[in-house]
Protein backbone atom coordinates (compact mmCIF):
# COMPACT_ATOMS: atom_id res chain seq x y z
CA UNK A 1 0.00 0.00 0.00
CA UNK A 2 1.16 3.53 -0.72
CA UNK A 3 2.15 6.06 1.95
CA UNK A 4 -0.93 8.22 1.33
CA UNK A 5 -4.08 6.75 -0.15
CA UNK A 6 -7.10 8.84 -1.14
CA UNK A 7 -10.03 6.53 -1.89
CA UNK A 8 -13.23 7.48 -3.74
CA UNK A 9 -13.44 10.93 -2.24
CA UNK A 10 -16.53 13.08 -2.91
CA UNK A 11 -17.38 16.58 -1.75
CA UNK A 12 -20.06 19.12 -2.66
CA UNK A 13 -20.60 22.75 -1.70
CA UNK A 14 -24.20 23.93 -1.97
CA UNK A 15 -25.20 21.02 -4.22
CA UNK A 16 -22.24 21.68 -6.50
CA UNK A 17 -19.82 18.76 -6.68
CA UNK A 18 -16.19 19.86 -6.46
CA UNK A 19 -14.62 16.41 -5.92
CA UNK A 20 -16.17 13.67 -8.03
CA UNK A 21 -15.06 10.29 -6.71
CA UNK A 22 -11.34 11.01 -6.68
CA UNK A 23 -8.75 8.35 -5.88
CA UNK A 24 -5.00 8.73 -5.88
CA UNK A 25 -2.00 7.32 -4.06
CA UNK A 26 1.29 8.94 -3.19
CA UNK A 27 4.57 7.20 -2.35
CA UNK A 28 6.92 8.18 0.44
CA UNK A 29 9.48 10.87 -0.54
CA UNK A 30 7.52 11.72 -3.68
CA UNK A 31 6.94 15.33 -4.72
CA UNK A 32 3.39 15.36 -6.07
CA UNK A 33 1.59 18.30 -7.66
CA UNK A 34 -2.15 18.78 -7.98
CA UNK A 35 -2.40 21.02 -11.02
CA UNK A 36 -5.45 22.72 -12.48
CA UNK A 37 -7.34 25.97 -13.00
CA UNK A 38 -8.98 27.68 -10.02
CA UNK A 39 -12.19 26.02 -8.87
CA UNK A 40 -11.19 22.57 -10.13
CA UNK A 41 -11.23 21.06 -6.62
CA UNK A 42 -7.48 20.70 -6.04
CA UNK A 43 -7.40 22.95 -2.95
CA UNK A 44 -10.47 21.24 -1.51
CA UNK A 45 -8.71 17.88 -1.82
CA UNK A 46 -5.60 19.26 -0.10
CA UNK A 47 -7.68 20.69 2.75
CA UNK A 48 -9.46 17.35 3.12
CA UNK A 49 -6.13 15.58 3.52
CA UNK A 50 -5.23 18.08 6.25
CA UNK A 51 -8.64 17.59 7.88
CA UNK A 52 -9.59 21.26 7.47
CA UNK A 53 -12.46 20.38 5.15
CA UNK A 54 -14.78 17.46 5.81
CA UNK A 55 -15.61 14.88 3.12
CA UNK A 56 -19.05 13.76 1.98
CA UNK A 57 -17.76 10.24 1.31
CA UNK A 58 -14.53 8.36 0.72
CA UNK A 59 -11.51 7.69 2.90
CA UNK A 60 -8.01 9.05 3.45
CA UNK A 61 -5.28 6.66 4.64
CA UNK A 62 -1.90 7.96 5.79
CA UNK A 63 0.92 5.55 6.60
CA UNK A 64 -1.57 2.69 6.81
CA UNK A 65 -3.90 4.47 9.24
CA UNK A 66 -7.39 5.74 8.41
CA UNK A 67 -7.32 9.47 9.23
CA UNK A 68 -10.60 10.46 7.53
CA UNK A 69 -12.23 11.55 10.79
CA UNK A 70 -9.17 12.52 12.80
CA UNK A 71 -8.83 16.02 14.25
CA UNK A 72 -6.29 18.06 12.25
CA UNK A 73 -4.18 18.61 15.36
CA UNK A 74 -3.64 14.86 15.74
CA UNK A 75 -2.67 14.15 12.12
CA UNK A 76 0.92 15.43 12.22
CA UNK A 77 0.56 17.04 8.81
CA UNK A 78 2.32 20.28 7.89
CA UNK A 79 0.60 22.85 5.71
CA UNK A 80 1.88 25.96 3.97
CA UNK A 81 -0.63 28.61 2.90
CA UNK A 82 -0.52 31.20 0.18
CA UNK A 83 -0.91 33.97 2.79
CA UNK A 84 1.93 32.61 5.01
CA UNK A 85 -0.38 32.51 8.07
CA UNK A 86 2.41 33.18 10.54
CA UNK A 87 1.47 34.22 14.06
CA UNK A 88 1.99 37.98 13.76
CA UNK A 89 2.56 38.59 17.47
CA UNK A 90 5.44 36.13 17.80
CA UNK A 91 9.05 36.39 16.69
CA UNK A 92 10.34 34.04 14.03
CA UNK A 93 11.84 31.88 16.78
CA UNK A 94 8.58 31.70 18.74
CA UNK A 95 6.62 30.94 15.58
CA UNK A 96 8.83 27.97 14.83
CA UNK A 97 8.93 26.86 18.48
CA UNK A 98 5.12 27.07 18.84
CA UNK A 99 4.32 23.46 18.01
CA UNK A 100 7.19 22.01 20.06
CA UNK A 101 6.18 24.06 23.12
CA UNK A 102 2.63 22.75 22.85
CA UNK A 103 4.11 19.25 23.00
CA UNK A 104 5.94 20.23 26.23
CA UNK A 105 9.34 19.49 24.70
CA UNK A 106 12.05 20.70 27.18
CA UNK A 107 13.16 24.31 26.40
CA UNK A 108 16.77 23.35 25.75
CA UNK A 109 15.80 20.74 23.15
CA UNK A 110 13.24 23.10 21.61
CA UNK A 111 15.93 25.74 21.25
CA UNK A 112 18.27 23.32 19.52
CA UNK A 113 15.72 21.95 17.10
CA UNK A 114 14.38 25.39 16.20
CA UNK A 115 17.87 26.73 15.60
CA UNK A 116 18.70 23.70 13.50
CA UNK A 117 15.77 24.20 11.18
CA UNK A 118 16.26 27.99 11.08
CA UNK A 119 19.84 27.40 10.06
CA UNK A 120 18.91 25.04 7.25
CA UNK A 121 16.40 27.67 6.05
CA UNK A 122 19.06 30.36 6.27
CA UNK A 123 16.96 32.32 8.76
CA UNK A 124 19.17 32.34 11.86
CA UNK A 125 19.78 36.10 11.72
CA UNK A 126 16.02 36.73 11.53
CA UNK A 127 15.22 34.68 14.66
CA UNK A 128 14.26 37.74 16.70
CA UNK A 129 12.38 39.53 13.91
CA UNK A 130 8.61 39.70 13.69
CA UNK A 131 6.77 38.52 10.56
CA UNK A 132 5.76 42.09 9.67
CA UNK A 133 9.44 42.96 9.19
CA UNK A 134 10.16 40.14 6.76
CA UNK A 135 9.83 39.96 3.00
CA UNK A 136 7.30 37.61 1.43
CA UNK A 137 9.95 35.03 0.63
CA UNK A 138 11.32 35.10 4.17
CA UNK A 139 7.83 34.72 5.62
CA UNK A 140 7.18 31.67 3.53
CA UNK A 141 10.51 30.20 4.64
CA UNK A 142 9.48 30.78 8.26
CA UNK A 143 6.19 29.03 7.55
CA UNK A 144 8.16 26.12 6.10
CA UNK A 145 10.44 26.02 9.14
CA UNK A 146 7.43 26.08 11.47
CA UNK A 147 6.03 23.01 9.72
CA UNK A 148 9.32 21.16 9.27
CA UNK A 149 10.35 21.39 12.93
CA UNK A 150 7.33 19.20 13.74
CA UNK A 151 8.71 16.45 11.48
CA UNK A 152 5.35 16.08 9.73
CA UNK A 153 4.50 12.87 7.92
CA UNK A 154 3.49 14.87 4.88
CA UNK A 155 3.89 18.48 3.81
CA UNK A 156 1.00 20.19 2.01
CA UNK A 157 1.69 23.35 0.02
CA UNK A 158 -1.35 25.38 -1.02
CA UNK A 159 -0.19 27.70 -3.82
CA UNK A 160 2.71 28.80 -1.61
CA UNK A 161 4.42 30.97 -4.24
CA UNK A 162 1.42 32.96 -5.41
CA UNK A 163 1.94 35.99 -3.21
CA UNK A 164 5.69 36.11 -3.76
CA UNK A 165 7.14 38.44 -6.36
CA UNK A 166 8.58 36.92 -9.52
CA UNK A 167 12.20 37.50 -8.55
CA UNK A 168 12.02 35.64 -5.23
CA UNK A 169 9.72 32.94 -6.53
CA UNK A 170 12.28 30.85 -8.37
CA UNK A 171 14.74 30.84 -5.50
CA UNK A 172 11.97 29.86 -3.06
CA UNK A 173 10.92 27.04 -5.38
CA UNK A 174 14.50 25.76 -5.28
CA UNK A 175 14.52 26.04 -1.47
CA UNK A 176 11.33 23.99 -1.25
CA UNK A 177 12.74 21.33 -3.57
CA UNK A 178 16.02 21.21 -1.59
CA UNK A 179 14.18 20.95 1.72
CA UNK A 180 12.01 18.20 0.29
CA UNK A 181 15.12 16.17 -0.53
CA UNK A 182 17.16 17.09 2.57
CA UNK A 183 14.40 16.20 5.03
CA UNK A 184 13.20 13.19 3.03
CA UNK A 185 9.73 14.75 2.97
CA UNK A 186 6.62 13.60 1.20
CA UNK A 187 5.15 16.75 -0.34
CA UNK A 188 1.95 17.70 -2.14
CA UNK A 189 1.85 21.01 -3.98
CA UNK A 190 -1.31 22.66 -5.24
CA UNK A 191 -0.84 25.14 -8.07
CA UNK A 192 -2.44 26.53 -11.21
CA UNK A 193 0.95 27.34 -12.72
CA UNK A 194 1.96 24.78 -15.34
CA UNK A 195 5.62 25.89 -15.44
CA UNK A 196 5.91 25.66 -11.66
CA UNK A 197 4.45 22.16 -11.74
CA UNK A 198 6.89 21.14 -14.49
CA UNK A 199 9.88 22.46 -12.53
CA UNK A 200 9.02 21.04 -9.13
CA UNK A 201 7.23 17.72 -9.45
CA UNK A 202 8.00 14.03 -9.61
CA UNK A 203 4.33 13.35 -10.41
CA UNK A 204 1.60 15.67 -11.64
CA UNK A 205 -2.14 15.02 -11.27
CA UNK A 206 -3.93 17.36 -13.66
CA UNK A 207 -7.40 18.24 -12.38
CA UNK A 208 -10.38 19.22 -14.47
CA UNK A 209 -13.65 20.15 -12.77
CA UNK A 210 -13.48 17.69 -9.88
CA UNK A 211 -11.84 14.75 -11.63
CA UNK A 212 -8.23 13.85 -12.41
CA UNK A 213 -7.77 14.23 -16.16
CA UNK A 214 -4.28 12.72 -16.39
CA UNK A 215 -1.48 11.69 -14.03
CA UNK A 216 2.20 11.20 -14.78
CA UNK A 217 5.65 12.73 -14.76
CA UNK A 218 5.97 16.31 -16.06
CA UNK A 219 7.57 15.15 -19.32
CA UNK A 220 4.87 12.50 -19.77
CA UNK A 221 2.12 15.10 -19.55
CA UNK A 222 3.99 17.53 -21.77
CA UNK A 223 4.91 15.12 -24.54
CA UNK A 224 2.00 12.74 -24.34
CA UNK A 225 -1.22 14.54 -23.45
CA UNK A 226 -4.24 12.26 -23.40
CA UNK A 227 -6.78 14.95 -24.30
CA UNK A 228 -7.04 18.39 -25.82
CA UNK A 229 -7.59 19.79 -22.31
CA UNK A 230 -4.24 18.43 -21.17
CA UNK A 231 -2.50 19.60 -24.34
CA UNK A 232 -3.85 23.12 -24.02
CA UNK A 233 -3.04 23.28 -20.32
CA UNK A 234 0.50 21.91 -20.50
CA UNK A 235 2.17 23.86 -23.27
CA UNK A 236 2.06 26.34 -26.05
CA UNK A 237 0.75 23.75 -28.49
CA UNK A 238 -0.32 24.76 -31.98
CA UNK A 239 -3.91 23.55 -32.38
CA UNK A 240 -4.95 23.26 -36.04
CA UNK A 241 -8.25 21.97 -37.40
CA UNK A 242 -8.17 19.04 -39.83
CA UNK A 243 -8.99 21.04 -42.97
CA UNK A 244 -6.29 23.63 -42.41
CA UNK A 245 -3.66 21.01 -41.68
CA UNK A 246 -4.68 19.10 -44.79
CA UNK A 247 -4.19 22.36 -46.76
CA UNK A 248 -0.78 22.94 -45.13
CA UNK A 249 0.40 19.45 -46.12
CA UNK A 250 -1.09 19.78 -49.62
CA UNK A 251 -3.57 17.01 -48.98
CA UNK A 252 -1.12 14.48 -47.62
CA UNK A 253 -2.82 14.62 -44.20
CA UNK A 254 -6.30 13.11 -44.50
CA UNK A 255 -7.27 11.71 -41.09
CA UNK A 256 -9.89 14.40 -40.48
CA UNK A 257 -8.95 15.08 -36.88
CA UNK A 258 -7.78 18.22 -35.10
CA UNK A 259 -4.01 18.30 -35.01
CA UNK A 260 -1.83 19.46 -32.12
CA UNK A 261 1.84 20.36 -32.64
CA UNK A 262 4.46 21.38 -30.10
CA UNK A 263 6.26 24.57 -31.20
CA UNK A 264 9.72 23.01 -30.72
CA UNK A 265 8.84 19.81 -32.60
CA UNK A 266 8.66 21.71 -35.88
CA UNK A 267 12.00 21.96 -37.67
CA UNK A 268 12.96 25.18 -39.41
CA UNK A 269 15.58 25.44 -42.19
CA UNK A 270 16.65 28.01 -44.77
CA UNK A 271 17.22 25.39 -47.46
CA UNK A 272 14.62 22.88 -48.63
CA UNK A 273 14.61 19.42 -47.03
CA UNK A 274 15.72 16.57 -49.29
CA UNK A 275 13.10 14.97 -51.49
CA UNK A 276 11.51 12.00 -49.77
CA UNK A 277 12.62 13.03 -46.28
CA UNK A 278 10.34 11.63 -43.57
CA UNK A 279 7.33 13.51 -42.22
CA UNK A 280 5.49 16.46 -43.73
CA UNK A 281 7.52 19.30 -45.23
CA UNK A 282 6.12 22.66 -46.25
CA UNK A 283 7.14 26.22 -47.02
CA UNK A 284 6.25 29.31 -45.01
CA UNK A 285 7.13 32.94 -44.34
CA UNK A 286 8.27 34.28 -40.97
CA UNK A 287 5.80 36.88 -39.66
CA UNK A 288 7.19 37.55 -36.18
CA UNK A 289 10.13 36.78 -33.92
CA UNK A 290 9.90 37.09 -30.14
CA UNK A 291 13.01 36.29 -28.09
CA UNK A 292 12.18 34.38 -24.87
CA UNK A 293 15.27 33.59 -22.86
CA UNK A 294 17.31 30.97 -24.66
CA UNK A 295 14.77 30.44 -27.45
CA UNK A 296 13.16 32.62 -30.08
CA UNK A 297 9.50 32.01 -30.89
CA UNK A 298 8.83 32.54 -34.59
CA UNK A 299 5.40 32.96 -36.12
CA UNK A 300 5.47 31.22 -39.52
CA UNK A 301 2.64 31.68 -42.02
CA UNK A 302 1.94 28.59 -44.10
CA UNK A 303 -1.08 28.65 -46.39
CA UNK A 304 -2.80 31.15 -44.11
CA UNK A 305 -2.11 29.13 -40.93
CA UNK A 306 0.31 30.83 -38.52
CA UNK A 307 2.37 28.24 -36.66
CA UNK A 308 4.46 29.00 -33.55
CA UNK A 309 7.93 27.52 -33.91
CA UNK A 310 10.52 27.60 -31.11
CA UNK A 311 14.19 27.73 -32.10
CA UNK A 312 17.28 28.07 -29.89
CA UNK A 313 18.79 31.57 -30.07
CA UNK A 314 22.00 30.44 -31.76
CA UNK A 315 20.17 28.95 -34.69
CA UNK A 316 17.55 31.69 -34.67
CA UNK A 317 19.98 34.44 -35.66
CA UNK A 318 19.93 32.95 -39.16
CA UNK A 319 16.28 33.92 -39.72
CA UNK A 320 14.72 37.32 -40.32
CA UNK A 321 11.10 38.42 -40.32
CA UNK A 322 9.68 38.27 -43.83
CA UNK A 323 12.01 35.54 -45.03
CA UNK A 324 10.82 32.38 -46.68
CA UNK A 325 11.69 29.22 -44.73
CA UNK A 326 11.23 25.48 -44.95
CA UNK A 327 9.48 23.54 -42.18
CA UNK A 328 9.26 19.87 -41.34
CA UNK A 329 7.18 17.96 -38.84
CA UNK A 330 7.81 14.26 -38.29
CA UNK A 331 4.68 12.12 -38.38
CA UNK A 332 5.26 10.68 -34.90
CA UNK A 333 5.21 14.18 -33.41
CA UNK A 334 1.74 14.94 -34.66
CA UNK A 335 -0.93 14.44 -32.03
CA UNK A 336 -4.49 14.24 -33.28
CA UNK A 337 -7.68 14.39 -31.26
CA UNK A 338 -11.25 13.69 -32.21
CA UNK A 339 -13.97 15.52 -30.25
CA UNK A 340 -11.51 16.54 -27.58
CA UNK A 341 -10.21 13.02 -26.85
CA UNK A 342 -6.93 11.59 -28.02
CA UNK A 343 -7.62 9.28 -30.93
CA UNK A 344 -4.45 7.78 -32.24
CA UNK A 345 -1.66 7.66 -29.73
CA UNK A 346 1.76 7.29 -31.26
CA UNK A 347 3.77 5.74 -28.47
CA UNK A 348 6.91 7.44 -27.37
CA UNK A 349 8.64 6.82 -24.07
CA UNK A 350 10.29 9.51 -22.07
CA UNK A 351 13.88 8.88 -20.96
CA UNK A 352 14.70 6.07 -23.32
Amino acid sequence: MSFLEVLNVCKSFDDQAVLKNISLSIEKNEFTTLLGPSGCGKTTLLRSIAGLSSLDSGRVLLDGEDITYKNPRDRNIGMIFQSYCLFPTMTVFDNVAYGLRLQKIPPEQTREEVQGVLESMNLLDKAKSFPAHLSGGERQRVALARSLVMKPKILLLDEPFNAIDAKMRKSLQLTVKDIHKEYGMTSILVTHDQEEAMRMSDTIHLFNDGVIEQSGTPTDLYLDPKSKYVASFMGNYNVIDANSFSRVTHGRYQEGKTVVLRPEAIELEKLPFEEGSPGHTFVGAITSAVPQGSIVRFGVDTEGVVLNVDVLVDKATAFRVGEQVHLRILTDKILSFCFGTRFSILKRRVHD
Binding site: A50, L52, R75, G78, L86, F87, P88, T89, R146
Partner: protein, 269 residues
Protein backbone atom coordinates in the same frame (compact mmCIF):
# COMPACT_ATOMS: atom_id res chain seq x y z
CA UNK B 1 25.74 65.95 7.58
CA UNK B 2 24.74 68.42 4.91
CA UNK B 3 21.64 66.46 4.07
CA UNK B 4 20.54 66.13 7.67
CA UNK B 5 20.81 69.91 8.07
CA UNK B 6 18.59 70.49 5.08
CA UNK B 7 16.14 67.90 6.28
CA UNK B 8 15.79 69.36 9.77
CA UNK B 9 15.50 72.91 8.42
CA UNK B 10 12.70 71.86 6.16
CA UNK B 11 10.70 70.16 8.92
CA UNK B 12 11.40 72.76 11.60
CA UNK B 13 10.37 75.90 9.76
CA UNK B 14 6.59 75.34 10.07
CA UNK B 15 7.05 74.46 13.75
CA UNK B 16 8.87 77.74 14.40
CA UNK B 17 6.27 79.83 12.57
CA UNK B 18 3.50 78.00 14.42
CA UNK B 19 5.05 78.65 17.84
CA UNK B 20 5.59 82.34 17.05
CA UNK B 21 1.97 82.70 15.89
CA UNK B 22 0.60 81.01 19.02
CA UNK B 23 2.74 83.11 21.37
CA UNK B 24 1.72 86.28 19.53
CA UNK B 25 -1.93 85.26 19.89
CA UNK B 26 -1.61 84.76 23.65
CA UNK B 27 0.22 88.07 24.08
CA UNK B 28 -2.39 89.97 22.04
CA UNK B 29 -5.18 88.33 24.09
CA UNK B 30 -3.45 89.48 27.33
CA UNK B 31 -2.75 92.94 25.92
CA UNK B 32 -6.26 93.69 24.72
CA UNK B 33 -7.87 92.28 27.87
CA UNK B 34 -5.68 94.09 30.42
CA UNK B 35 -5.68 97.41 28.56
CA UNK B 36 -9.43 97.62 28.69
CA UNK B 37 -9.90 97.32 24.94
CA UNK B 38 -12.71 94.86 25.76
CA UNK B 39 -14.24 93.47 28.93
CA UNK B 40 -12.52 90.16 29.78
CA UNK B 41 -15.40 88.98 31.95
CA UNK B 42 -16.52 86.53 29.23
CA UNK B 43 -13.11 85.28 28.16
CA UNK B 44 -10.77 85.86 31.11
CA UNK B 45 -7.17 86.47 30.08
CA UNK B 46 -3.87 84.56 30.33
CA UNK B 47 -2.47 86.14 33.49
CA UNK B 48 -5.89 85.83 35.20
CA UNK B 49 -6.00 82.12 34.36
CA UNK B 50 -2.49 81.57 35.73
CA UNK B 51 -3.32 83.41 38.98
CA UNK B 52 -6.50 81.40 39.45
CA UNK B 53 -4.73 78.11 38.67
CA UNK B 54 -2.35 78.75 41.56
CA UNK B 55 -5.26 79.38 43.92
CA UNK B 56 -7.01 76.30 42.53
CA UNK B 57 -3.99 74.11 43.33
CA UNK B 58 -2.99 75.60 46.70
CA UNK B 59 -6.52 75.60 48.11
CA UNK B 60 -6.74 71.82 47.65
CA UNK B 61 -9.84 72.30 45.48
CA UNK B 62 -8.06 70.91 42.41
CA UNK B 63 -7.10 67.70 44.20
CA UNK B 64 -10.58 67.21 45.63
CA UNK B 65 -12.47 67.65 42.36
CA UNK B 66 -9.92 66.15 39.99
CA UNK B 67 -9.73 62.97 42.07
CA UNK B 68 -13.51 62.52 41.80
CA UNK B 69 -13.41 62.83 38.01
CA UNK B 70 -10.33 60.61 37.69
CA UNK B 71 -11.98 57.94 39.81
CA UNK B 72 -15.04 57.99 37.56
CA UNK B 73 -12.92 57.78 34.41
CA UNK B 74 -10.80 54.89 35.63
CA UNK B 75 -13.79 52.99 36.96
CA UNK B 76 -15.53 53.38 33.63
CA UNK B 77 -12.45 52.36 31.65
CA UNK B 78 -11.83 49.29 33.78
CA UNK B 79 -15.38 47.97 33.92
CA UNK B 80 -16.34 48.97 30.39
CA UNK B 81 -13.32 47.45 28.65
CA UNK B 82 -13.44 44.29 30.77
CA UNK B 83 -17.08 43.71 29.84
CA UNK B 84 -16.41 44.66 26.22
CA UNK B 85 -13.52 42.23 25.72
CA UNK B 86 -15.24 39.38 27.57
CA UNK B 87 -18.51 39.69 25.68
CA UNK B 88 -16.80 40.15 22.33
CA UNK B 89 -14.70 37.02 22.86
CA UNK B 90 -17.79 35.07 23.93
CA UNK B 91 -19.83 36.14 20.90
CA UNK B 92 -16.82 35.69 18.63
CA UNK B 93 -16.52 32.06 19.61
CA UNK B 94 -20.18 31.15 19.91
CA UNK B 95 -21.05 32.69 16.61
CA UNK B 96 -24.73 31.72 16.66
CA UNK B 97 -25.26 33.65 19.90
CA UNK B 98 -23.18 36.41 18.32
CA UNK B 99 -25.46 36.58 15.31
CA UNK B 100 -28.50 36.94 17.58
CA UNK B 101 -27.21 39.45 20.11
CA UNK B 102 -24.65 41.68 18.40
CA UNK B 103 -27.27 43.50 16.29
CA UNK B 104 -29.17 44.25 19.52
CA UNK B 105 -26.01 45.66 21.09
CA UNK B 106 -25.18 47.80 18.08
CA UNK B 107 -28.82 48.93 17.99
CA UNK B 108 -28.63 50.11 21.59
CA UNK B 109 -25.32 51.83 20.88
CA UNK B 110 -27.18 54.00 18.34
CA UNK B 111 -28.93 55.81 21.18
CA UNK B 112 -26.59 58.63 22.15
CA UNK B 113 -25.67 57.64 25.70
CA UNK B 114 -24.95 61.20 26.70
CA UNK B 115 -28.60 62.09 26.01
CA UNK B 116 -29.53 59.45 28.57
CA UNK B 117 -27.42 61.14 31.26
CA UNK B 118 -30.44 62.66 33.04
CA UNK B 119 -32.07 59.24 33.38
CA UNK B 120 -28.89 57.60 34.66
CA UNK B 121 -28.53 60.36 37.27
CA UNK B 122 -32.13 59.74 38.27
CA UNK B 123 -31.50 55.97 38.52
CA UNK B 124 -28.10 55.95 40.22
CA UNK B 125 -28.10 59.26 42.08
CA UNK B 126 -25.69 62.19 42.27
CA UNK B 127 -22.70 60.04 43.33
CA UNK B 128 -20.00 58.21 41.41
CA UNK B 129 -22.19 55.34 40.22
CA UNK B 130 -24.21 57.30 37.69
CA UNK B 131 -21.08 58.70 36.02
CA UNK B 132 -19.29 55.38 36.02
CA UNK B 133 -22.36 53.74 34.51
CA UNK B 134 -22.71 56.38 31.79
CA UNK B 135 -18.99 56.56 30.94
CA UNK B 136 -18.56 52.82 31.33
CA UNK B 137 -21.33 52.08 28.83
CA UNK B 138 -19.63 54.38 26.31
CA UNK B 139 -16.32 52.58 26.86
CA UNK B 140 -18.07 49.23 26.57
CA UNK B 141 -19.58 50.00 23.16
CA UNK B 142 -16.23 51.20 21.84
CA UNK B 143 -14.21 48.25 23.06
CA UNK B 144 -16.86 45.65 22.26
CA UNK B 145 -17.30 46.65 18.62
CA UNK B 146 -13.54 46.93 18.04
CA UNK B 147 -12.78 43.55 19.62
CA UNK B 148 -15.69 41.72 18.02
CA UNK B 149 -14.75 43.05 14.60
CA UNK B 150 -11.13 42.01 15.09
CA UNK B 151 -12.03 38.46 16.13
CA UNK B 152 -14.47 38.10 13.24
CA UNK B 153 -11.91 39.26 10.69
CA UNK B 154 -9.06 37.02 11.89
CA UNK B 155 -7.32 35.22 9.02
CA UNK B 156 -8.81 31.72 9.17
CA UNK B 157 -5.57 30.24 7.89
CA UNK B 158 -3.77 31.36 11.05
CA UNK B 159 -6.28 29.50 13.19
CA UNK B 160 -5.93 26.45 10.96
CA UNK B 161 -2.14 26.65 11.20
CA UNK B 162 -2.35 26.65 15.00
CA UNK B 163 -4.73 23.71 14.82
CA UNK B 164 -2.38 21.73 12.55
CA UNK B 165 0.49 22.47 14.95
CA UNK B 166 -1.48 20.84 17.73
CA UNK B 167 -3.28 23.71 19.49
CA UNK B 168 -6.78 23.29 20.92
CA UNK B 169 -9.42 26.02 20.50
CA UNK B 170 -8.79 27.47 23.95
CA UNK B 171 -5.01 27.50 23.53
CA UNK B 172 -5.44 29.18 20.13
CA UNK B 173 -7.65 31.83 21.73
CA UNK B 174 -5.12 32.57 24.45
CA UNK B 175 -1.90 32.38 22.43
CA UNK B 176 -2.96 33.52 18.98
CA UNK B 177 -6.36 35.23 18.76
CA UNK B 178 -6.31 37.64 21.69
CA UNK B 179 -2.70 38.79 21.12
CA UNK B 180 -3.39 39.45 17.42
CA UNK B 181 -6.52 41.44 18.34
CA UNK B 182 -4.60 43.75 20.68
CA UNK B 183 -4.21 46.58 18.14
CA UNK B 184 -7.99 46.77 17.73
CA UNK B 185 -8.67 46.36 21.44
CA UNK B 186 -6.26 49.21 22.12
CA UNK B 187 -7.81 51.41 19.46
CA UNK B 188 -11.21 50.69 21.02
CA UNK B 189 -9.72 51.67 24.35
CA UNK B 190 -8.41 54.88 22.83
CA UNK B 191 -11.91 55.81 21.72
CA UNK B 192 -13.01 54.73 25.18
CA UNK B 193 -10.66 57.20 26.89
CA UNK B 194 -12.23 60.20 25.16
CA UNK B 195 -15.68 58.76 25.76
CA UNK B 196 -15.02 58.13 29.45
CA UNK B 197 -13.73 61.68 29.99
CA UNK B 198 -16.67 63.31 28.25
CA UNK B 199 -19.11 60.91 29.92
CA UNK B 200 -17.82 61.79 33.37
CA UNK B 201 -17.90 65.54 32.71
CA UNK B 202 -21.39 65.57 31.18
CA UNK B 203 -22.62 63.34 34.01
CA UNK B 204 -21.29 65.89 36.45
CA UNK B 205 -22.96 68.74 34.53
CA UNK B 206 -26.33 67.01 34.82
CA UNK B 207 -26.15 66.33 38.53
CA UNK B 208 -23.35 65.79 41.03
CA UNK B 209 -21.81 67.01 44.24
CA UNK B 210 -18.25 67.42 43.00
CA UNK B 211 -15.78 66.81 40.18
CA UNK B 212 -14.28 69.00 37.48
CA UNK B 213 -17.58 69.12 35.58
CA UNK B 214 -19.40 70.29 38.68
CA UNK B 215 -16.67 72.94 39.23
CA UNK B 216 -17.12 74.23 35.65
CA UNK B 217 -20.90 74.69 35.95
CA UNK B 218 -20.53 76.12 39.45
CA UNK B 219 -17.90 78.64 38.29
CA UNK B 220 -19.88 79.57 35.20
CA UNK B 221 -22.90 80.48 37.28
CA UNK B 222 -20.65 82.93 39.26
CA UNK B 223 -19.05 84.24 36.04
CA UNK B 224 -15.66 82.98 37.26
CA UNK B 225 -14.32 82.30 33.77
CA UNK B 226 -10.71 82.05 34.90
CA UNK B 227 -11.65 79.02 36.98
CA UNK B 228 -13.55 77.49 34.06
CA UNK B 229 -10.45 77.89 31.91
CA UNK B 230 -8.28 76.34 34.63
CA UNK B 231 -10.60 73.33 34.79
CA UNK B 232 -10.48 72.95 31.03
CA UNK B 233 -6.68 73.08 31.13
CA UNK B 234 -6.72 70.31 33.74
CA UNK B 235 -9.09 68.27 31.57
CA UNK B 236 -6.79 68.74 28.58
CA UNK B 237 -3.78 67.59 30.59
CA UNK B 238 -5.73 64.60 31.88
CA UNK B 239 -6.76 63.61 28.36
CA UNK B 240 -3.23 63.99 27.01
CA UNK B 241 -1.78 61.99 29.91
CA UNK B 242 -4.21 59.11 29.34
CA UNK B 243 -3.46 59.09 25.62
CA UNK B 244 0.27 59.17 26.35
CA UNK B 245 -0.16 56.20 28.68
CA UNK B 246 -1.94 54.36 25.87
CA UNK B 247 0.90 55.24 23.49
CA UNK B 248 3.40 53.69 25.89
CA UNK B 249 1.23 50.62 26.38
CA UNK B 250 0.82 50.31 22.63
CA UNK B 251 4.54 50.55 22.00
CA UNK B 252 5.14 47.85 24.62
CA UNK B 253 2.40 45.48 23.52
CA UNK B 254 2.62 46.00 19.78
CA UNK B 255 6.37 45.64 19.19
CA UNK B 256 5.53 43.08 16.54
CA UNK B 257 3.58 45.63 14.59
CA UNK B 258 6.01 48.54 14.31
CA UNK B 259 7.26 48.51 10.78
CA UNK B 260 10.48 50.33 10.11
CA UNK B 261 9.52 52.93 7.53
CA UNK B 262 13.02 54.36 7.43
CA UNK B 263 14.21 54.87 3.91
CA UNK B 264 11.08 53.74 2.09
CA UNK B 265 10.84 57.26 0.68
CA UNK B 266 14.22 56.91 -0.95
CA UNK B 267 13.40 53.64 -2.61
CA UNK B 268 10.38 55.10 -4.38
CA UNK B 269 12.49 57.07 -6.83
Amino acid sequence: MNRNDKQSKRTHLPLIIRTVLLLAGILLWEYFATNGRYNPIFTSHPSGIIKDSIVFVTSGQLYKHASITVLEVFGALFLGSLAGIALATFFGYFSFAGEIFTPIISGISCIPQLALAPIYVLWFGLGLQSKIFLAGLMVFFNVFSATYGAIKSMDKGILESANLLGASEFVTLRTVVLPSCMPWILSGLRGGVSAALIGAIIGEYIGSRGGLGWMITYSTSYFNISRVMSCILVLLVLGLALNKALDLLERRVLVWRTVTTLGTERLKK
